[in-house]
């Protein structure tokens, strides 16, 4: 397709749409006064990130993103909002004390990172380019987990156990004083 003299592929169109929604909903997360709506937009932003992963030929990552971040984390955040007793009050808003300062800091950070990206030498390598083979990302992940990264894999299970225990102990209601 040719628009205004530029060749545009469907890939690019999809990227612009997904990136646009991701950024717009991320901005809504920060700007919306109602914290519950902000959480909903966070879910949308994370969902579109999954779309970006899919575009980058990483469907497994996209599925993980949807399962963990959209499916579980966003639900957890919304649940956490409803756990707070402030949900019943009227002024249930997120506080932005100094929007100008925050915008300035964020803008500076963006400029800094943007200049970094533009001014750096980026080495292209076979590994960094990732598995270019279609539909190979699940075996690639499995191979990485079982062969080189078996230590992080096993450590992850211990971390998950500790986190499960800790989170339950902190969140548990201690009504009957059982130890």
């Amino acid at each position: 397709m040719q628009i205004l003299g530029f060749y545009i592929t469907g890939y690019q169109v999809a990227f612009v749409i997904l990136a646009g929604i991701t950024l717009a909903s991320a901005a809504m997360v920060v700007l919306l006064p109602n914290i519950l709506r902000a959480a909903m937009f966070l879910g949308l932003s994370l969902f579109c990130t999954a779309g970006l992963y899919a575009l980058m030929n990483a469907p497994f990552m996209a599925a993980v993103q949807v399962m963990i971040y959209v499916g579980a984390i966003t639900t957890m955040i919304i649940l956490a909002i409803f756990l707070s007793n402030r949900v019943m009050r009227i002024g249930f808003a997120q506080a932005i004390y100094n929007p100008l300062l925050a915008a300035g800091a964020a803008g500076l950070m963006f400029l800094f990172l943007f200049l970094t990206v533009v001014n750096s030498v980026w080495v292209k390598s076979a590994v960094a380019a990732g598995p270019a083979r279609v539909g190979q990302d699940v075996p690639a992940v499995a191979q990485a987990l079982l062969q080189p990264y078996v230590f992080p894999f096993e450590l992850a299970s211990v971390i998950l156990l500790a986190v499960l225990v800790g989170a339950v102990v902190i969140a548990k209601e201690d009504v009957d004083g059982d130890s």
Partner: protein, 535 residues
């Protein structure tokens, strides 16, 4: 990889299994009081027993490695675990083995402190001790981690367990605040660190092992904007664990609000882990072939100086002893960082591994041995001080420095022990703290005379800071001996620790004082841990 190499992380493996056993002990028989397994072998006794065994294994491992060094049988490849393309993800060199021993020993002391602080009827005690054990596993693995993923996971594991431990006194609002503040700062810093790591991974062509990254991360790349950003972002995360100054905001509130044994854990074990990682990272990846041209070297020099001054200047004004020790531990990290920076500046050529970095170092240099010695001294004196704070705080129900007024009269042993620990923290001879500072400042001055004058300035600032810190440390001693504002009202009842606590305090008191007698073997051991035999 060879299964046999797993023996190098045997302490961590045993500790993980023990933590799971302790966790299950707590729920096995909770429905039947005075009958079940948890009555005969309750978590608060099982955990220290297991930890003592593991500490023994860790000590044995460190000792064997040192002996192997003396016999000349030591190579870095031999202690690498989970090796991928020749790059190990965990490198249990003697440096890591000793720091891992320090982590387990510190955890053992913290468990005795916890027994005294929480007592028998603690809610969720099996979970508490189990999490403490998991945290020590994380710290000991972090000491050996030499791969970005391993580093990130270990640091995150340590942080996650620490957040929960800091918030463990659920009925105490300040404890919840401590956990939440720690968590919010920690989450932000770890996100930044992960971003830095992803840039490092990207610009060096998809490597995660530090030694592999070091090969690619040289010259133009190291001086590129992305290289700077990556290193700085990783340093943000590590600086947070160490409470270096711009990332220290969590420390005072968390230290004050968290249960005292947890504060002790955070100030010693968690810092030992952060220190190990930052040493490895700075000497291997971020080592500047010409430090003068490297921005982060100068940035760290400035941060170290600011950290020392900030910690000490604010500590002077504190009226709560936990908060005072919190600020003072910020300053203590500044002293340790002097040693780390000296080690970093000794590099003249880019290296690809930790042992290569050490080979380039002056064989007799004092910097990294000094860091090990000071870390061990810090373990003794800081945990000792916290032990006394736990005992006194429990009996007097107060953490205010005022309430220590006249403690010498009603608790001579505790007061004199605390006095020695504080004198040691100030670095006054003849204590362990003095020995540590001697090595660190001496090492900095020696390297500084050679080619880096900025290190002499840093050492001078460190000495000035030790003098400042002596003011507020000795102020506590003055209050204990002569009373607050000279009045000297002793508390109504005598303050006595339990037998277990007195023993723990006495052992640490002995080691704090005895270390200077064994200065020679200690320093020989530390420098052979760091230097000799590396081929």
């Amino acid at each position: 990889m060879q299964i046999g190499n797993l023996i190098f992380i045997l302490p961590a493996l045993c500790m993980s299994v023990a933590a799971i056993i302790v966790l299950l002990l707590g729920v096995v028989a909770s429905k039947r009081p005075h009958k079940g397994l948890d009555y005969f072998f309750p978590a608060q006794y099982a955990a220290p027993v297991f930890t003592a065994i593991v500490t023994g294994i860790a000590g044995w491992l460190a000792w064997t490695e040192l002996a192997a060094i003396k016999a000349g049988a030591f190579t870095e490849q031999a202690v690498g675990l989970f090796v991928v393309n020749g790059h190990a993800q965990l490198t249990v060199d003697p440096f890591a083995a000793i720091l891992s021993f320090i982590a387990f020993a510190g955890t053992l002391v913290v468990m005795f402190l916890s027994q005294d602080h929480f007592g028998e009827d603690m809610l969720h005690k099996a979970e508490y001790y189990s999490l403490l054990m998991f945290a020590s596993v994380a710290a000991s693995l972090a000491a050996a981690a030499s791969d970005l993923i391993a580093i990130y996971l270990c640091i995150e594991f340590l942080s996650l367990t620490s957040y929960i431990l800091a918030a463990f006194s659920k009925t105490d609002r300040r404890s919840a605040e401590a956990g939440l503040k720690y968590f919010l700062y920690g989450a932000a810093c770890s996100a930044v660190m992960l971003y830095g790591m992803s840039i490092l991974f990207g610009i060096t062509g998809g490597n995660t092992a530090l030694s592999a990254i070091a090969i690619g991360f040289k010259g133009e790349l190291a001086n590129s904007a992305a290289g700077w950003v990556a290193i700085m972002f990783v340093l943000v995360g590590l600086g947070f664990k160490l409470a270096l100054v711009p990332f220290h905001f969590w420390a005072p509130d968390t230290y004050e609000g968290a249960p005292t044994p947890v504060t002790a854990f955070l100030s010693v074990v968690s810092k030992a882990a952060g220190l190990a990682v930052i040493v490895r990272f700075l000497t291997v990846v971020a080592n500047p072939a010409s430090p003068a041209s490297s921005m982060w070297y100068w940035m760290l020099i400035v941060l170290t100086a600011v950290t020392m001054f900030y910690g000490n200047m604010v500590a002077i004004w504190q009226t709560n002893i936990k908060r005072m020790l919190a600020y003072s531990s910020i300053a203590q990290v500044g002293y340790l960082m002097i040693g780390v920076l000296t080690a970093m500046s000794s590099q003249v050529v880019p290296v690809d591994s930790f042992s290569a970095a050490l080979r380039n170092n002056n064989k007799g240099a004092w910097d990294l041995p000094g860091v090990l010695i000071y870390m061990f001294a810090y373990l003794l004196m800081n945990l000792g001080a916290f032990a006394v704070v736990v005992v006194v705080g429990k009996r007097l129900k107060s953490e205010a420095i005022d309430s220590y007024s006249g403690l010498m009269k009603c608790a001579p042993f505790l007061a004199s022990a605390l006095a020695v620990f504080l004198i040691s923290l100030a670095g006054i001879p003849p204590t362990a703290g003095f020995l540590g500072k001697l090595f660190i400042f001496g090492g900095a001055i020696m390297t500084g005379m050679d080619r880096h004058p900025e290190l002499i300035v840093l050492a001078a600032l460190g000495i000035i800071n030790s003098v400042i810190s002596a003011y507020y440390y000795l102020n506590v001693v003055r209050v204990m001996y002569f009373g607050f504002s000279g009045e000297g009202e002793a508390p109504a009842e005598p303050v006595r620790g339990t037998f277990a606590m007195n023993t723990v305090i006495a052992v640490m008191l002995f080691l704090t004082l005895a270390m200077i007698i064994f200065a020679r073997p200690v320093s020989d051991m530390a420098s052979s841990a760091v230097y000799s035999g590396l081929k």
